[in-house]
Amino acid sequence: MINKTLRSPLPTRRDFLKTAGTASLAALTIGFEWAATGRRAIAAVPSPGAPFAPNAFLRIGSDNSVTVIAKHLEMGQGSYTGIATIVAEELDADWSKVTVESAPADAKRYANLVFGTIQGTGGSSAMANSWAQLRDAGAKARAVLLSAAAKDWHVPVADLTTDKGVVYHAASKRQAAYGSLVKTALTLPVPDTVVLKDPKNFKLIGGRPPRVDAAAKSDGTAQFTLDFVLPGMLVALLKRPPLFGATVKSYDGTAAGAVPGVVKVVQVPGGVAVVAKSFWAAKQGRDALKIEWDDSKAEKRSSAALMDEYRRLADQPALSARKEGDAKKAIGDAARKVSASYEFPYLAHAPMEPLDAVVKLDANSCEIWAGDQFQTIDQGNAAHAAGLDPKQVSIHTLYAGGSFGRRANTISDYIVEAVSIAKAYGADGTPIKLQWTREDDIHGGLYRPMYFHKMEAGLTAQGELTGWHHVIVGQSIMADTIFAAGIKDGIDATSVEGAANIAYAIPNIAVDLSTTKTGVPVLWWRVVGSSHTTFAVEAFIDEAAHAAGVDGFTFRRKLLEHEPRMKAVLELAAEKAGWNSGPMPAGRGRGIAVAEAFKTFVAQVAEVTVDSHGNIKVDRVVCAVDCGTPINPDIITAQMEGGIGFGLGAVLHGAITLKNGRVEQGNFNNYRVLRMNEMPKVEVYIVPSTAPPTGVGEPGVAPVGPAVANAIFAATGKRIHMLPFPKTGAV
């Protein structure tokens, strides 16, 4: 029920619809055509039982079903539920009637408005970029349904109300379920502008509508790419080079071809693929391949040697990412100086579902089924690999068994591999599923880059920070990709985010970047730059606080007086954690850290126990988050819990290392991740807000590492300067 009027915040909707044009919309909006001006929808002989589909984001069936079309990948972060919640809220839908289906690849209708013209999911942007768009879509659909009821009943729209998928006319005690209004709605125009709900009347937003995928993900029926099967489908495994940058010199597929069930052995740009009737046959066939590799152009260095080079580079001139005042002079003149360096390893994303894609390719078309995260980029790369036009490539996005950034890569590695295999197989329409193994995943590159951070700070005798100098050395994620244009003056923002934009009030700040090149492919990993910068900043500010003789909370708060949202989460976390409740017993410690990532503010307080053998146990993490309007507090809480567990696993165990170019890890035995017995008790507190919503998938990862490191210092007096944390006994 709408009491107060708010104008639609989307004056550009008209432009959007104009761009979308008739052809692409017609594909979706059955029985509808947009006039060239986008001014009104004209009924085009609705077929019996046609659903009411006033825009690209929803359909209402005469059976009262509400189908929300999700332009974003559901990889665990709750995007399907969030998207459906926004639409259903403005539509005033019955939540139990709402289902979600994935959108096809189509940048005109389904671009991520944060990315511009690309359809894709990432940067914790699903809710932020959908908020206004989907409120508008839901509200306009509701407006037409109201008009339909008004027309059917010959009453003014103003006398009608809605609730849970039903239109009511109080005076005449009439009511009509949305489904019964579809027929009339199909004959009515969609309004150009619409009144949105006053947030105080929200019923679903801010509530706890259950996840649309929870039941299917609890009884084994949720369908992932692993589970997707087409008649006659074959399974392919690809043997990739053991070194990054190596290529096939020659191969002998005789033994592989002789394995029962193996259908064909084919060479593709990425290696040699075995195509078989089952995974097991393909696996045995791949194991039997004999390949000679050309590693003349391969990366053969060790990660330890790379880090030595990075360490040297940190003392060389670098590019400036931020410069205010004269940090060098301030530090040189300071009464007290603090310095430290921090080393971060390569990290694999290791989503639970090893990468996989099903491709059906023939001379004129390519169909792809995958947990696809960059639909229109993947569409373009697949078309290129197949020798087709992007229009000939269709993408069906399925549930992804995790991603953490891995599926959002600009070379579309696993998609291109699958298409290349289908092409080499004969492009005869045979469906082929490319399946990666865990070893393929851990060896597969596109890691969070390795970084070296060197930091210096100066303080007055009274303990006030006067200078801050931060040098970051490491690979660029965006260099040599389609996002390279986003690199300004040599600075890849993803290398310095969380460092160049620190909120602390320090008069002299210098943040420098030295970008390296190696043959190891790199990629964004959950929370991207802040996965290392926040550790360096928040561990080092703690060292500065200690040098100033002030506790970490008080020291930070004073430097954040002008940053109300950041200060508020810091205070909330400290309060809920009992920061001032006195010292902890021997062997225990409390540490704090705060971050802004993707416009969301998160502070965390960690409590640890370090036993006499140096074993670290993280007992509790208290988290405060401000992500603007909380769309679904339970999902926000879940993302903070999960982000904390994900980040904690990385700082405790995570490292991809190279020895003479060869990745030394291969599976969860030596690329360790967090397990049940290591999960701390997590408490999440959400700051009430009416600001536009921001993301929650990634930001929770950023502060946990430094909060724990600072807690370890509080417990032991030892600082951690190299990740992952030292093994048992070393602290």
Binding site: Q77, P354, G402, A638, M679
Partner: protein, 153 residues
Amino acid sequence: MPTTFVLNGQSATLDADPAMPLLWALREVAGLHGTKFGCGMAMCGACTVHLDGQAVRSCVMPLSAAAGREITTIEGLKSKQAKAVQAAWVELQVPQCGYCQSGQVMSATALLEKNSAPTDADIDGAMSGNICRCATYQRIRAAIHSAAQSIKA
């Protein structure tokens, strides 16, 4: 070569390489897709099934080892413990990406079938072989306690 065993309460004969891991026989021969592939070396638990009521990793168990035994997959869960676990999973909104959750539910069910009131330490012992990269561990723990309570009630 056919292997005969009891699959989800019914006799089943799967004609496949006896050395094929049970996981792939279940998925590609029997067509049961609830059991997932995560690591192939019993390190992650995504492939957990019950062998005569015990939680086992089907990715390293050859099909031949199932001969004459009882195998239960998530599709065949019927016990009151299983139903309580699955209800608690939904009630507490455990799943995120959901990929590991079949294995988690299988391990949790096997735990509750043996231990009606597991402690946190019992849960650590039974569940630490099941990796969840989304780190839904806190909710898994709470859901197991909740399921235990609901069975008792």
